[in-house]
């Protein structure tokens, strides 16, 4: 997926899965998501879509929608081009990355 865009790599000790983050450079939850990945030592790649050419960005959004039947919102975490979650809800990220729930006081707000 997303073969036509360049992701920025971030090194980490845990690199068993391909973790990619679709983010905005201005978004607070995107920064929080990056901090989460780094806290847990994951190697990952990210791209700030707001810095891409509009036509390229539109292509990424279309590809995401076709693959996951979901509208892209930020941050979006994609694992091995197969699983995904949109938005930063810590419990969902922990589930997707097979981590134990660290803080059960976090309120889960979902549709």
């Amino acid at each position: 997926m997303f073969d036509h865009i360049v992701f920025q790599p971030v090194a980490g000790a845990v690199s068993t899965r391909r973790i990619r983050l679709l983010a905005l450079s201005t978004c607070g939850f995107c920064r929080r998501g990056q901090a989460f990945l780094e806290k847990h030592g994951f190697a990952y790649e990210y791209v700030h879509l707001d810095t891409l050419d509009p036509a390229v960005k539109a292509g990424v959004k279309q590809e995401f929608k076709e693959k996951f039947d979901a509208t892209l919102s930020y941050p979006a975490l994609v694992i091995d081009d197969d699983k995904h979650t949109v938005g930063y809800v810590k419990r969902f990220w922990e589930d997707l990355l097979n981590l134990p729930h660290e803080d059960d006081t976090v309120e889960v707000l979902s549709e």
Binding site: L24, S25, T26, C27, R31, S73, Y74, G87, E107
Partner: protein, 111 residues
């Protein structure tokens, strides 16, 4: 330059953007999220959006900066409903009085 446009242009400064956020919260009866790890990037994002597009568009949404995005100039048209339903705006910038900042996370897109 009209007074309104002059005022908006000042928001390209993060300190002015922060003052704007404080004034909005006071006017609307909301609370600015005290979690600086989350809020500082958002305030910087508001300044960046003003530099890019001339208005403080929501930094947590992917926008093109045209008239079609006028509904997401901060505070966005959905903030009041989101704060009433979830205790927070889409960005987590504005909270309902009494909302625990530790429970702030991504919420469904109402737009």
């Amino acid at each position: 330059m009209t007074p309104w446009r002059f005022y908006l242009s000042r928001l390209s400064n993060p300190a002015a953007a922060r003052d704007y956020v404080i004034q909005v919260a006071r006017h609307r009866g909301w609370v600015v999220n005290p979690d600086s790890d989350l809020v500082d990037p958002i305030v910087e994002g508001l300044a960046a959006q003003t530099n890019r597009f001339g208005k403080p568009f929501c930094p947590c949404r992917d926008i093109d900066g045209g008239d079609a995005d006028s509904d997401v100039v901060c505070p966005c048209a959905y903030a009041a409903a989101d704060i009433a339903a979830c205790g927070q705006c889409y960005c987590g910038l504005f909270l309902a009085p009494g909302k625990d900042p530790k429970t702030v996370g991504s919420i469904p897109e109402r737009r």
